[in-house]
């Protein structure tokens, strides 16, 4: 089966600019996650969708980050304006239902560098 697709793979922007990442989950997966992975740390959940509704966005810096999942399929994550500390790999993952012990499938990630 096709995996989770993310684009772009790499992005370099100046601070205060805006940027958007796109994710296409595995077909049929109702749950979609965006994780932020700063260098030397484990992934940290930013936002979780179940279909097109938000389940958990407690760690999302809402003053600058926003995310949407149109029609319960693709998702975009936006940062506006970006700060230097936003430099990280942004991982999208999906799973087939919201339950424990479900495997999450990850995309290749988007590496963001803010200069």
């Amino acid at each position: 089966e096709a995996g989770v697709a993310q684009s772009p793979r790499y992005k370099i922007i100046e601070k205060r600019q805006s940027v958007a990442f796109w994710c296409n989950p595995i077909s049929g997966h109702a749950t979609l996650y965006w994780y932020q992975q700063i260098l030397g740390q484990g992934p940290k959940l930013l936002i979780q969708f179940q279909n097109n509704g938000v389940v958990d966005d407690s760690q999302l810096p809402k003053d600058r980050f926003s995310a949407e999942r149109l029609k319960g399929v693709d998702s975009t994550l936006k940062i506006q304006p970006a700060k230097l500390e936003d430099s990280a790999v942004y991982l999208c993952a999906s799973s087939d239902y919201r339950a424990k012990n479900t495997e999450a499938f990850f995309g290749q990630g988007t590496r963001l560098t803010v200069v």
Partner: protein, 109 residues
Amino acid sequence: AQRVTQPEKLLSVFKGAPVELKCNYSYSGSPELFWYVQYSRQRLQLLLRHISRESIKGFTADLNKGETSFHLKKPFAQEEDSAMYYCADGSSNTGKLIFGQGTTLQVKP
């Protein structure tokens, strides 16, 4: 708050040596724990989950509730095991994963 601790950032062993990657969790109930692995230039992928009680690529992990640990073990390391390993807690009702900071396993020839 739930927390996962992997005390070693780097573990370096020789081929054929035993490996143990440490993981401790803080969840007080019945935890749902996973090990994910990221090989060089590949995406993060599931290695094993504790509920399955299976051995994958020779790796096993036993849940020890008394010590709140879920250490990953392999009796004889292979060079292809070199990768980044993350322990994750999926105990949240939403199914989200809380990751440790990861351990780089380096298996030398």
